[in-house]
């Protein structure tokens, strides 16, 4: 028995060590130093909630926070709806289903740096096909600089992730295929049409999958640094700034470490609140 105990510890050790290095020490550091004045090369000194005060008075931070919240809401609603509709169509198992499932996944498979680069070029005002196609269809002087025009930049950035709901779709499809055949059949015998079948029978049964998908969609909005760096870089002004990019800039361009970690704390809190809310809305802990 004693030997086994030793092995248990040894088997857990690498995982725990890696976890501590990557998550635990760092998370503690984020919280602790968010209350400190800490710049590159300088001493760390405690200064209470100064960083937070500074944050909530700074336009950069407030617009990053606002944009981030808007993106979370859009992603938890429209994006999830796309995925749900896609899943309901594809799960009818037509000949084309497999092909569409594969293709829809592509934007989620490649590096999002590459995806950002792809859109940066697609929407390029000089040679990008989007503007060229609009010009081809008659609007000769159509020349929108998507990522640099303050009126459309937010929209342009949003469409680099909003339509690509393959993961939501995947979760829903998996759950749909687990529904026993009898339930939809009984509904059809009772005279339900396909729309009623979807809305009253299938969607409520896959509530948990939709909830999980919504959480993933919402929290993915707390990770979008790469796409922004590749496309608008937060601009013009702060029009497309989000928290991850702001953290990156505060830490590695302004070298204000304490402030960057205060932003990190806010990012973590925004994530926790989103997860909590979505859990509540979808009553994910209740049985179906």
């Amino acid at each position: 028995m004693r030997i086994k105990k030793r092995w248990i510890i040894l088997f857990l050790l690498p995982g725990i060590a890696l976890f501590c290095f990557v998550f635990l020490i760092t998370t503690v550091q984020v919280f602790a130093t968010s209350f400190c004045n800490w710049r590159i090369g300088g001493e760390i000194s405690f200064e209470g909630i100064n960083n937070y005060k500074q944050l909530f008075m700074s336009d950069d931070f407030l617009s990053a926070l606002k944009n981030n919240i808007i993106w979370i809401v859009l992603q938890s609603t429209i994006h999830v709806l796309f995925g749900l509709i896609f899943a309901l169509i594809i799960s009818r198992r037509k000949k084309y289903s497999g092909f569409f499932r594969t293709v829809y996944m592509l934007p989620n498979i490649i590096s999002s740096a590459a995806l950002g680069m792809l859109f940066y070029n697609i929407l390029n005002p000089m040679y990008g096909p989007v503007n060229k196609i609009v010009q081809f269809f008659g609007v000769k002087d159509f020349n929108v600089n998507w990522f640099a025009d303050a009126n459309v930049a937010f929209f342009a950035v949003t469409i680099t992730w909003l339509p690509f709901a393959a993961i939501v779709a995947l979760l829903v499809i998996a759950e749909l295929s687990a529904i026993s055949e009898d339930i939809p059949e009984a509904a059809v015998i009772d005279g339900a049409n396909e729309l009623q079948l979807n809305i009253y029978i299938k969607i409520p049964l896959v509530r948990n999958a939709i909830g999980t998908g919504t959480i993933l969609a919402a929290t993915s909005m707390l990770q979008k640094l790469d796409i922004l760096i590749m496309t608008s870089n937060g601009g013009p002004g702060n029009k497309t700034m989000n928290l991850p990019l702001l953290i990156y800039k505060t830490a590695f361009k302004d070298n204000n470490f304490g402030l960057a970690n205060a932003q990190g704390v806010i990012l973590i809190i925004v994530g926790l609140i989103s997860i909590g809310l979505i859990n509540k809305i979808y009553r994910m802990n209740d049985p179906i």
């Binding site: 990557v22 998550f23 998370t27 590096s111 740096a113 070029n121 640094l225 590695f252 470490f257 960057a260």
Partner: protein, 277 residues
Amino acid sequence: MKVCKKILVKILIFFFLAVTLLVTLGPFLWVLFASFQTNKEILDFTLGFPSGVQIKNYTTAFQLAPIVRYYFNSIFVTFFGVTINLIAMGMAAYVLSRFQFRGQNLIRLLFSMGLLIPGAALLLPLYTSVSAVGLYDSMWGLIIVYVGFGIPQSLFIISSYYKTIPKEMEESAYLDGAGFVRTYITIIMPLARPSFATAGVMQFLLCWNEFQFALTLTTGDRSRTLPIALYYFKSSFASDYGAMFAAIVLVSLPSIIVYIILQKYVVTGMVAGAVKG
């Protein structure tokens, strides 16, 4: 009336799928075609097949940026990022799903807590930690970070598979006098191969595609990975469109190939890895 409605639904579905296809596949095909075109052809927007397939853009891309070096780095980082993650999490998942001991639930909780922390919040602390142990601008620094970020997902995928393996399998091995480690390596690991494949593919995608830590934990060409090559093109060689497109293709292709070949595992992994946050 009913027929009308049916046709309308069909049209709507067709429209939805057509738009989906256009926005997902369209950009890929355009970049692929454009990567074989000359700068002039790109500016004139000649849709369709390039005038003659020329690989000049690809050779230029290789000349402009140290893509070969970045490829090597990406392969190195991904190989060790996947292997170490699978070894460490395979072991941890085994004891967590097979044995009862004090602190078990705490460890499980701790590991899944990783899902609640957005990576971007840890950009700076990981930079300081990695620098503190002397691994800044080293591929090993990246490897450790990627192995760590894959913990929750791999643990969940592998341990839920272990639970489906009947206990009798190891009990008979123990009776035959096999030790703890030997039982794990010769009985459990081979049986759990599919879950290692699933977790491995997911971990591959994580390591191969990751951008933000590759950007902040390295500097210079010595240890930068492929996604950073794109950043390089965007900031320095943005006027050589063809080469830029070639670079996009070169970066994306491995992920797409792995996905097409191992689609079954990717799909399982995405569903299984979506642990309730």
